[in-house]
């Protein structure tokens, strides 16, 4: 397979998985919040919580549906575009996917059917159990998917036999420390997204003074969720990064644009990066900042990319082991910047809530409403950092990306699939946004009662 096909396959993987996670990220958190609303309804028998669960549930379903249909592509893509990788690692990497399909996804997709169409076919409690099953299955599913990803980032539990990976120890696969940093960070980012989603849609109604009671309550739930989740996501991100400093120093150095090993290392706020000459032509930095963040010490040395490159060349043979530094540097900054902005926004909203003005002044509501794209952008940047930062490895230290791509698939075929997926995905996204806007315009109390 030639280089065009490799590049196209990588673009396809990046596009389809990022797209998938936009929708899945929302369902991770929103399923929990909808389950919570329905629990209130069952406990207090207050109709308003039923309307809430139905309204937010209908938006959740749009996202869930797109997540499900695009998930199919992901499962097939490993065999279609990355068949050499599948041969090499299927015995280990496929296992978490099998667990996911057989447990989480099976339970989730049966339960969702009953939840959607069973409002008046099963008892209240059984119906409540279904949404909790969906929420649990979604987050449990994430555990297996991320354990597969963690294996690519930081392989564990395998032996190399006949130039192929074989499973040696299942428990090592699921106690991979990388998994726990990644899992907490990812699930929390889903909650941040969902919290802001609920706040933004509620803000839309509050600005129009419609459904005030329902939306004030929803807004509060969204706010409580976003402030907690945003604070925690920043916290887990910090520890995740400290962990990266140990296991993937190259990724961390690249995301900080640190070319030379420094003792102490500065934290760079802004840099003009020259990847050709392997240096920053200009940078604005805080001395010792990175040493403090990565190692909790003002003087700790942090290894730079040039040293790591020399080290890897010695270890793995000649090659270029640097990821795309500029992309990583700015993705990381974008993600962190958005994280702090969202925390600030949530805190501001909390302050007005404290002063008994839930929702605060219209200007704040408007800002909250228009900040909705930001969490989407942040998770995109987060995944960009994780996956682009893994390059040039497909499995860190074991298999190069260029070695994993299908040998027999021509670039014409990858072009065809890339174009078709792009077209179909764009169409589905437009339809999903259109349907979601329609549901939002229709409002909570006008929900169709189609046996739902």
């Amino acid at each position: 397979m030639d280089n065009t096909a490799l590049l196209l396959a990588r673009i396809q993987f990046g596009l389809t998985l990022t797209y998938h996670f936009w929708f899945v990220g929302l369902t991770l958190g929103l399923s929990l919040l909808v389950a919570l609303m329905e629990t209130f309804y069952v406990l207090r028998q207050d109709q308003i919580y039923k309307s809430m669960a139905k309204f937010w549930g209908s938006l959740f379903l749009v996202s869930y549906a797109v997540g499900v249909v695009t998930g199919l592509v992901n499962e097939f893509q490993f065999g279609m575009n990355w068949s050499e990788y599948s041969r090499f690692a299927g015995s280990v990497f496929g296992l978490p996917l099998t667990f996911e399909a057989l447990t989480a996804f099976f339970v989730g997709s049966v339960a969702i059917g009953i939840w959607v169409y069973g409002w008046d076919k099963v008892s209240l409690v059984a119906h409540l159990v279904m949404i909790w099953l969906v929420a649990f299955a979604a987050n449990y599913s994430a555990f297996w998917i991320l354990s597969a990803n963690s294996f690519m980032q930081h392989p564990a539990g395998f032996v190399l036999n006949n130039e192929r990976l074989e499973l040696a120890d299942l428990s090592a696969l699921i106690t991979n420390p990388y998994l726990y940093f990644q899992y907490s960070h990812t699930v929390l980012s889903g909650l941040v997204l969902s919290g802001y989603f609920i706040m933004a849609v509620s803000a839309y109604y509050l600005l129009r003074r419609e459904y005030t009671d329902l939306c004030t309550r929803s807004f509060k739930i969204g706010l409580a969720c976003s402030i907690l989740a945003t604070a925690l996501v920043i916290g887990t991100g910090h520890f995740y990064n400290q962990y990266l400093a140990h296991v993937q120093p190259m990724k961390m150095a690249a995301s900080e644009a640190l070319w030379e090993t420094a003792e102490p290392a500065p934290f760079v706020f802004f840099a003009v990066i020259d990847e050709e000459k392997r240096m920053n032509t200009y940078q604005l930095a805080l001395p010792s900042g990175l040493s403090l963040l990565a190692y909790n010490s003002l003087n700790a040395p942090v290894r730079g990319m040039n040293d790591l490159q020399a080290e890897y060349t010695q270890q793995y043979g000649p090659g270029y082991y640097l990821p795309a530094v500029t992309i990583l540097f700015w993705s990381f900054r974008g993600m962190v910047g958005i994280g702090f902005w969202l925390l600030f926004l949530a805190a501001l909203n909390l302050w007005f809530w404290w002063k008994n003005q839930p929702g605060g002044p219209p200007a704040l509501l408007k800002v909250t409403l228009w900040s909705l794209p930001l969490p989407y952008l942040a998770i995109t940047m987060g995944w960009t950092m994780t996956e682009v930062g893994r390059q040039p490895w497909l499995i860190y230290g074991l298999l190069l990306t260029e070695k994993g791509v299908s040998k027999i698939v021509s670039s014409a075929n990858v072009w065809t699939s890339l174009l078709i997926y792009s077209g179909v995905y764009a169409g589905i996204a437009l339809a999903a946004v259109y349907v979601a806007l329609k549901l939002i315009r229709r409002g909570p109390e006008n929900q169709q009662e189609q046996g739902r």
Binding site: V66, V69, T103, V110, L167, I408, V424, Y434, L439
Partner: protein, 417 residues
């Protein structure tokens, strides 16, 4: 357990999941293919979709489970087939995406074009997979160009020959029968005769095709030497025959049992013909992918086997419970299609629009008046003031209509209670 047994068990587990997928999605696909043709009115189309909407996701997940077993247990088969059958799988995935989206999006807009588009998406997402699975499964048996390095060396067209096309038709035909029989069980009694009639027609073709399939399989595959395979091929024929007979006697449940048996036995026969191979190589029989030369290590196979045996009973019970919940026949005129209720909803929507429009009109008038006043000095004052008078009158009338709309809305909300 020794290693050899494990491979067979895993192949069996894969076969079970794949059979489950085709059995369950078989009637979904059948119903989906019939949707644009046998649903006469909007309500009937809704009803047909309603029979599969709550269950399709739980059916499709069997495919995902089967594919993941293939990936984990037999990585070489997964890698060779998925990269080899690239374009076929692309069509499969795209149509399945559209079909899945249709179930969620279709009823969110009442525009006729919107619904038509999603109806045809359901059709495409049922037709294409039925044909493609038939083609793919039979081509595994007929042989694909696979070299010594386990790589597929052909193109899309190596998939297509007389035998595999016949296989595609057999699958599509069986699913049509299966779907029609499923609908006789799930739809309003008023609609049943139509699907019964269609089922009988589809059944006759299926009888013909399944007989032809026996002959073609003997001609085109090397499995003719296996007596078990030849025997297994006759089972679908018998199943279709009994399905037709019970359908004629209007024993729908029995007929569904037989149509299920027909789908299962067809796929089972093919898997039996393959065993212990997975994909037959048309270049050299020794290069065929078998359950031994393309499997994972024993530990992985063992874990798969244990996991499936542990979770499958629970999953089957859960699925069965779901089918029990949604056992009622779906009527084509449900309460939400009650014309009075729809009119009320329409009125509410129109009133909302009226209020929005008048608010906007008022804003425009106010803006224009301000602009007028600025121009006052330049133009004739008398004409100016008469225009402003008219505008004011207009404004009063709009305000009045707004009040009327508000009163009607209030009245409506009282009536609704």
């Amino acid at each position: 357990m020794n290693e050899m047994d494990l491979n067979t068990i895993c192949f069996g587990m894969f076969g079970f999941l794949f059979l489950g997928y085709l059995l369950l999605e078989g009637f979904d696909y059948g119903a989906g293919m019939l949707l644009p043709f046998l649903g006469d009115s909007a309500e009937e189309k809704d009803a047909i979709l309603q029979t599969t909407a709550p269950v399709w996701e739980g059916n499709e997940v069997w495919l995902i489970a089967a594919a993941s077993i293939l990936f984990t247990g037999f990585p070489h088969v997964y890698a060779t087939l998925f990269s080899g059958l690239y374009l076929a799988l692309l069509i499969l995935l795209v149509t399945l995406i559209l079909r899945g989206a249709a179930f969620e999006f279709r009823d969110k807009d009442s525009s006729i074009y919107w619904r038509k588009f999603w109806d045809w998406s359901v059709f495409a997402g049922s037709m294409a997979p039925s044909l493609l699975w038939g083609i793919a499964v039979t081509s595994l048996l007929a042989g694909l160009p696979i070299d010594a390095q386990k790589q597929f060396t052909g193109t899309f067209w190596d998939l297509v020959n007389f035998y595999t096309l016949a296989g595609g038709l057999v699958f599509a035909n069986l699913f049509l029968l299966h779907g029609a029989v499923y609908l006789t069980l799930r739809l309003d009694r008023r609609l049943v005769p139509r699907f019964e009639k269609f089922g009988l027609a589809a059944g006759r073709y299926a009888l013909l095709l399944s007989a032809g399939f026996i002959v073609l399989s003997l001609l085109y595959t090397d499995s003719a030497a296996k007596p078990v395979f030849v025997f297994a091929l006759t089972v679908p024929f018998l199943a279709v025959f009994f399905c037709l007979r019970s359908l004629k006697k209007r024993q729908y449940r029995l007929s569904f049992l037989f149509s299920s048996a027909a789908v299962v036995s067809t796929v089972f026969a093919v898997l039996l013909g393959l065993f212990p191979r997975f994909v037959v190589s048309s270049q050299n029989p020794d290069w065929s992918l078998t359950i031994y030369n393309s499997a994972s290590n024993p530990l992985t196979l063992k874990i798969i086997t244990l996991t499936i045996s542990a979770v499958l009973p629970a999953l089957l019970l859960f699925e069965a419970w779901k089918y029990y919940i949604f056992r009622d026949r779906i009527t084509a005129s449900k309460s939400d299609h009650n014309p009075e209720k729809m009119l009320w909803a329409e009125l509410r929507g129109q009133l909302g629009n009226l209020r929005n429009h008048s608010t906007r009109l008022l804003a425009i008038i106010t803006k224009r008046k301000r602009a007028m006043k600025k121009l006052m000095i330049k133009t004739d004052k008398e004409r100016q003031s008469s225009v402003i008078l008219h505008l004011n009158e207009l404004r009063r009338k709009i305000r009045y209509s707004q009040k009327v709309a508000a009163t009607i809305t209030k009245l409506l909300s009282i009536l609704r209670k």
